[in-house]
Symmetry: C2
Subunit: 376 residues, 2 copies
């Protein structure tokens, strides 16, 4: 029985832990390290799927979508009847869905945790729902994504050691239940999620427990939840290598340019984040010369492209003055153009990172990037 | 001295006044009758210009933009410095700009009319401004559109005969001032606008006055301002033929499918309207089987395309269930897809109208269209 998703590790950078590999999925190959654009509600906000697929020089072949949102609306049975998420949203590449765990745990007072699962209320109509490991698998099976994530608890960053330990152990028990209830491993691959907060020994404990289940991939959860970046990098320094080197490693919810470099340097293969698409809808852009806010008056009569070193659709065809006009006028086109640019920027940066790893000059490229980008 | 925009009348339908022609502009030819999509603030809302240019089977080669909006934001001098509106917004086809008259007259208590022009306040910051025929020409000259419209008064539909008469005479005086102050007729063509409310004799008077100026095109203003459609058709029955047959005739602000047919039948060559793009952002679509509202629950599990007889990007790739999901989720993609479909629908319908006129079967095609579309 062949796993839906397999991983080839091509090489490791000579000076760092940075890895160059490839995910083979039922919807095509994905070169790693990779940044996955997020399409929460079965659409990458403000972009056509063909335009997403065409980003960068090599294109994008994997996106992320959210189980929690799609379960509530339109409902996973609708997506199943549509022929699955790929067909529903007209996306021909691979899809990774999260488990819904992160979202229901973010609801605070609106949810109740038991050994069975999590009871929560809908953000749409207040109706009561229950997510369990089995339910999350059922929903993700209906969605038909290539990679499905385990239903875990992402404990609050301020939780005490006792709670984190209890929580990661429950996450392991839930992972076993996910594995037991997910049957069609040739169609979809289940990834486990390491927890353990900012405690190195608990991260170790979590890693040992989940790796025992021999899954086709592993994620690191519970990071980028408000802690200083140094804390995250310190955890990564100590826990990435606890995961098997022949399996893909996914750092969940991380996607600022600096974090991509730091994650790759520590051996991460996959990233996702709403940051590039979200800031785009707030008139902000990543560029090779730093972050730019297009509402700033300095752009009023600046007829240069947004990023002088970018060859994306936006930078080839429009000026900062035009983008500022669109942002000030609240035009949908501003979200369209800035989303396309921001995703292009991260995708293209990741392509250059892959090339640098291949040529054993990852740190050199990192330095070059930051020399141009400036302070974060 | 050659006019920027010239018109060739190819033929007239055998059974009606419907005309088949071509506008030659500095930015390419435009086959008529034509529907012009509206890009109020230098963008067709929710569409990339390349996608607009690719609509229908023959493509779109003319759009409309608004002088009033662009004067206030970003300011016509910014657009001039950008190299003109075409370059600013990345539109390679022709552009028609209105004069700003309609918008400033719509401001009600916020404006004051004198013989000199109209004083009004900005909707953005309340600042005071003055539009005169000369100012409107100056602004439109800066924008660099292919067709510029005369600064006219579109009198309120409930104005009495005395006011309408006074107003149309002032509109003629203003038209003369527009013509006198617009110098570069080889770069931009000025169209005059007929007024006269719903009074046939005043329409006649207005037509005689403006046609004396021998302009490269004429528009009919002051219609589709809230009156019953029969009243508009009655005015058109009597006044379209007052305009010279060798010049293009433009019915301003009209664009519902039924009005396009009725206008073409009465000898109109050009139309514009925000309707298809505006209703798209409210989850509504024109289809060959009538108007569809995608928020309607009946579409929840309807996996058929929006329009069974449409070959647009939206109908080739997405289901009504998906479109409903996007609309319910307030996703930008719903505006993108429905705008593209609605414009495609009108553009494609106009292509079929042109073909029908060429083959002397306009009324036959009209009947066929309405048999399928149903009641308006």
């Amino acid at each position: 029985m062949k796993n839906a998703v397999t991983f080839d590790l091509y090489k490791t950078d000579s000076g760092t832990r940075a890895r160059r590999g490839c995910l083979h999925t039922p919807h095509g190959d994905v070169q790693t390290p990779v940044f996955m654009p997020v399409g929460t509600q079965a659409t990458i906000k403000a972009m056509k799927p063909e335009d997403v697929a065409g980003l960068g020089h090599e294109g994008v072949n994997i996106i992320l979508s959210n189980t929690y949102h799609l379960y509530l609306r339109p409902g996973h049975e609708i997506v199943r009847k549509a022929g699955g998420l790929h067909k529903f949203m007209n996306w021909k590449g691979a899809i990774l869905t999260d488990s819904g765990g992160f979202q229901v745990f973010s609801l605070g007072d609106l949810r109740k945790i038991t050994e069975e699962g999590v009871e929560f209320r809908s953000f749409i109509d207040g109706s009561k729902h229950m997510f369990t490991p089995e339910k999350s698998m059922e929903v993700q099976n209906a969605l038909g994504s290539d990679i499905i994530m385990a239903f875990d608890e992402c404990a609050p960053p301020d939780a005490d050691r006792g709670y984190i330990k209890k929580s990661l152990e429950r996450t392991t028990r839930w992972l076993r239940r996910c594995k037991d209830s997910h049957k069609d491993v040739e169609r979809q691959s289940l990834f486990g999620i390491m927890q353990g907060g900012f405690f190195k020994d608990l991260r170790y404990e979590s890693a040992m427990q989940i790796c025992e289940l021999d899954l086709p991939g592993y994620a690191i959860g519970g990071l980028s939840v408000g802690e200083p970046k140094e804390v995250m990098y310190d955890v990564l320094d100590n826990c990435v290598e606890l995961l098997p080197s022949d399996k893909p490693r996914y750092l969940m919810g991380v996607g600022s340019p600096d974090c991509l470099f730091e994650g790759v340097e520590r051996g991460i293969d996959m990233f996702d984040c709403v940051l590039p698409t979200r800031i785009a809808r707030n008139a902000a852009a990543f560029t090779s010369v730093g972050k730019v806010n297009l509402r700033n008056a300095v752009h009023t009569d600046d007829f240069e492209p947004l990023d002088p070193n970018c060859d994306c659709y936006c930078c080839r065809n429009y000026s900062r003055a035009y983008l500022r006009h669109l942002c000030k006028s609240n035009e949908i086109m501003s979200s369209m153009l800035l989303t396309e640019h921001n995703l292009y920027f991260l995708v293209r940066t990741m392509e250059k990172i892959r090339e640098a790893i291949e040529e054993d000059r990852f740190l050199e490229y990192k330095q070059e990037f930051f020399d141009s980008y400036g302070e974060f």
